[in-house]
């Protein structure tokens, strides 16, 4: 009897535990975030208007509250302080504005997928921030849908009274794409998406070796010297091919004594994007695959012989052992390894601010190869953005959130965000900030963790990336006398700057949006849905690895049919109409 009662009691306890456990998982994940911000918001509204609450508070005071931000940016997520409550920059923001910042990040294999999932589930906190270079990027359709459906707060009224963001309304301040397709879209009934990292002045056609990156193809200096090659004169596809052949015949070996691959993957891992670097002279589809044919008609590259020319060239490189077979697929760890042990004579992509380049002096830029128009210059379409933020429609007092980011984008805010707290991480010398020796030392040693946890400022991306990412109206050289914190006095990037001076880049301005940006037009919705599942560059790679020429051509033909079936003719017709009306509207050149 005793044992039966005991068994029943155990069973009951076990069952209750399991039941409670099951039920405990059913609560809404976002509730804790909301409840955390609610009392703070109430405290603000109880405190009354700004006039009554600023007694004894700095002029920059906004409200005593908490703002929770969900970041869909891995660079931000992996560079957050462990303890924001005791972090100097977070504390200073709280002191100046009354706002406590909480930044959330959900690690995943793709930030854009997390963004889609959380927007669909309606679990966003006060504000979101994500990558967004332009309106063609994969995050945009999701943001667009959310904005159209009222997920975000309209900030148009707040912009009018702002200090920095009101500049967005000035004609010519924003890039065309940002203005027409992101911030002030005609089909929006307000302003919902704020594009970030907009330069105060358009420097897009000027090359500044003190801050600009020199990137693309990079060759081992000792190999270039041994072959007596002037790397700047490698401009055509033949030049490039001949160089690869010369490397192969040169019998060069890597650090382990194995023969080098003349062409290796990009430093950050194999990618189909590197086709642009190695096939630049035959990259006809300059507008995201589209261009004008000899009759002035908009066509996709797949409809021309250039698709095959690319495949043929890459097949030749593979067949002759001039390219690492894992060029497109190597994972980032191994790719870094083959670059570091000099197994690649040429890296398909890297830049002068990667430690491998500026610390070793082993690598120099190659080319760049000419574009389809025969120019060695890089093409720019003017100013551009990098990130985007939006305030949730459910956020309490969105104006306070807007004011906070308007303040952080001001000169005073930028100084705090990029340099930290005066006296702690920098001092003002002749009106310009100069990092303290201790901070400079950690910056030179690339001690990111120390910078993030002990200071918390952005330091041009070397510290807490969030604050660097949220900048806009950017003009550091004019405001702070250097392109990024510490670059004026830093020794660590000396070689990077030196390389940029030795291998300057020229730019050519081509105005307009890429042809694929017009898929965002309302009448193109169905075409976009079909085309979004197709990947032209992957098709080129697939054809490159095909067993025979016949099979490779079949793969290209099949892709062409898929594209036609998805509505290629409709898109081409639409883009043609836009281009005919305004030649500066679409980015075409040849």
């Amino acid at each position: 009897m005793k044992s039966t009662v005991f068994k029943k009691a155990i069973a009951l306890v076990a069952a209750m535990t399991l039941t409670m456990g099951a039920l405990a998982g059913c609560g809404r994940g976002g509730s804790s975030g909301s409840s955390a911000s609610t009392p703070a918001s109430n405290a603000t509204s109880q405190g009354g208007s700004a006039q009554t609450s600023t007694d004894g508070k700095p002029d920059t005071w906004i409200a005593d509250r908490k703002v929770t931000i969900q970041a869909y940016v891995d660079d931000i997520g992996y560079a957050l302080p462990e303890d924001t409550a005791n972090n100097p920059v977070f504390q200073e923001i709280k002191k100046r504005t009354g706002i406590e910042l909480e930044i959330l990040y959900t690690p995943s294999d793709s930030d854009s997928k997390t963004l889609a999932a959380q927007l669909a589930a309606g679990t966003i906190p006060d504000m979101i921030v994500c990558y967004l270079n332009n309106s063609v990027r994969k995050e945009f359709p999701i943001l667009y849908k959310a904005a159209k459906e009222g997920m975000f707060a309209d900030v148009s009224e707040f912009m009018k009274n702002s200090k920095v963001y009101k500049k967005y309304m000035e004609p010519g301040y924003l890039p065309d794409d940002t203005y027409k397709n992101i911030v002030f879209r005609e089909d929006f009934d307000g302003v919902y998406l704020m594009h970030l990292s907009i330069d105060a002045q358009d420097h897009s056609t000027e090359f500044d070796p003190n801050k600009d990156y020199v990137g693309g193809l990079m060759i081992q200096k000792k190999i270039a010297d041994a072959l007596g090659v002037d790397v700047k004169k490698v401009r055509t596809l033949d030049d490039f091919y001949n160089l690869l052949v010369a490397i192969k015949n040169g019998g060069f070996t890597d650090d382990n004594g194995n023969p080098v691959y003349p062409l290796g993957p990009k430093y950050w891992g194999g990618s189909v994007d590197t086709i642009d670097n190695i096939c630049r002279p035959i990259d006809w589809g300059v507008s995201d695959g589209y261009n004008l044919d000899e009759n002035g008609k908009v066509k996709h590259e797949i409809e021309t012989e250039y698709a095959w020319k690319k495949v043929e060239f890459m097949r030749k490189l593979l067949a002759e052992g001039l390219m690492n077979p894992e060029f497109f697929t190597m994972d980032s760890t191994r790719s870094e390894e083959v670059s570091r042990n000099h197994n690649s004579a040429i890296m398909a992509d890297c830049h002068n601010y990667v430690d491998l380049v500026y610390e070793t002096n082993d690598w120099v830029p190659l080319g760049i190869l000419n574009n389809i128009a025969g120019q060695q210059s890089k093409v720019t379409n003017g100013k551009s953005g990098y990130g985007c933020w939006a305030i949730s429609a459910e956020a309490k007092n969105p104006e306070e959130i807007f004011k906070l980011f308007d303040y952080l984008a001001s000169e005073e805010g930028q100084l705090l965000c990029e340099y930290g707290v005066e006296g702690l991480s920098y001092n003002m010398v002749d009106g310009k900030p100069v990092l303290t020796p201790e901070v400079q030392q950690h910056l030179d040693a690339s001690d990111h963790e120390w910078l993030i946890n002990n200071i918390g400022a952005g330091f041009g991306g070397a510290g807490c990336v969030f604050f660097d990412f949220m900048m806009t109206d950017v003009d550091p050289e004019v405001r702070f006398g250097e392109s990024r914190p510490g670059s004026g006095t830093a020794t660590v990037y000396e070689n990077a700057v030196k390389l940029a001076k030795e291998y300057p880049v020229t730019y050519v301005l081509v105005k307009g949006l890429k042809a694929s940006a017009f898929l965002n037009a309302t009448e193109m919705a169905d075409v976009k849905a079909q085309m979004s599942t197709l990947n032209y560059k992957e098709t080129l790679v697939q054809a490159t690895y095909a067993d025979s020429e016949k099979e490779a051509r079949k793969i290209l033909d099949s892709f062409k049919k898929q594209l036609e079936s998805a509505g290629l003719a409709q898109l081409e017709e639409y883009v043609q109409k836009v281009y005919d009306a305004d030649h500066d509207a679409v980015q075409f050149y040849k």
Binding site: G21, I142, A529, Y545
Partner: protein, 314 residues
């Protein structure tokens, strides 16, 4: 078919209230299970309506506007449809049909091992891969199958062959790689059910067969296999339901631009379209097609099995 157990009949005769009172600890233990199924299996089924709606972030699943069969029409008229169905069915056939006998063969082989210690070691070794994540397994495969310096290519090279084949970039090797990897990962785990069924066979049957002069092969053929026929039937019926679902993680990780023509399946397409492009309704409709086809296949396989072998799920 068989006589009903008298104690079950007795219990079922009693009113529900009395049964609840008498066996309440058992019913309490059932509660978490019921809650789990309601919350995680039945309630989410309501999300199927998304296949017929233009999903709005703001309005939610039930408030969004109806679009009828638009997504189904889009899918079946799209260029991708044939290729996706073909690829998914091929992978499904490999996983559900082609791989099916291997676990049975392993279970039969393990059953014939006389040394208890060797048997346990063999079992443990074959189970182990099941507990490894697909990411680890596929990373290992990538290293093994790498061109030039991969183990397989080095072996081929040592034997005088061409050691530069990039297996993962060739569509023609994709199914073989998938088959080999899946077998290695799951064969041990899948054999557990069969081993349990074999353990339930009356040992006197084997003794009688031995006395009658049956060798081991005959005992396996006439006692073991018929003894686990029911289990084989049930697992086959359940497996057939997954014919139109290729599994996501393995395929997704094995995909390269080179093998995309055969490695793009409905499961990967759903993720690409649904999560990356935010077309939740379209992705749900494809998921629904998979579910319905799976259900039809299970019901059909159950009927066929019942007619042919008297084994069935219900």
């Amino acid at each position: 078919m068989s006589k009903r157990n008298p104690s079950v009949a007795y219990i079922q005769k009693k009113p529900l209230g009395k049964r609840l009172l008498k066996f309440w600890p058992l019913y309490v233990m059932l509660v978490p299970c019921i809650i789990y199924y309601i919350l995680f299996c039945y309630i989410p089924m309501g999300g199927i309506v998304l296949a017929f709606k233009d999903y709005s972030f703001k309005k939610g699943i039930y408030g969004s506007d109806w679009v009828g069969f638009r997504y189904f029409k889009t899918f079946f008229t799209s260029y991708d449809c044939g290729r996706l169905l073909r690829n998914t069915l091929t992978v499904g056939l490999i996983k559900c049909i082609l791989e099916f006998p291997f676990a049975i063969i392993l279970a039969l082989m393990l059953n014939e091992i006389k040394s208890y210690r060797f048997k346990k070691i063999s079992q443990t070794i074959t189970y182990l891969p099941h507990f490894l994540s697909s990411v680890i397994i596929i990373t290992m495969m990538q290293r093994i199958l790498a061109p030039n310096n991969g183990v397989l290519n080095q072996v081929i090279s040592a034997m005088g062959g061409d050691g530069s084949t990039f297996f993962l970039m060739k569509a023609k090797y994709f199914y073989q790689i998938l088959f080999g990897m899946d077998i290695w990962k799951n064969i041990g785990w899948d054999s557990i059910m069969y081993l349990a069924a074999i353990a339930g066979i009356d040992p006197t049957l084997y003794e009688a067969a031995e006395i009658d002069g049956c060798n081991r092969l005959k005992r396996m053929r006439y006692i073991t296999i018929p003894g686990i026929r029911g289990t084989i039937g049930l697992l086959f019926i359940m497996g057939v339901g997954g014919l139109l679902s290729s599994g996501f993680d393995q395929i997704f990780l094995l995909r390269t631009p080179g093998n995309m023509s055969v490695a793009d399946t409905l499961d990967t397409f759903v993720v690409r379209v649904g999560l990356q492009n935010g077309q939740f309704g379209y992705a749900t409709s494809i998921g629904l097609i998979q579910g319905i086809v799976g259900l039809i296949l299970v019901v059909s396989a159950n009927k066929i099995c019942k007619r042919m072998t008297e084994v069935s799920l219900w």
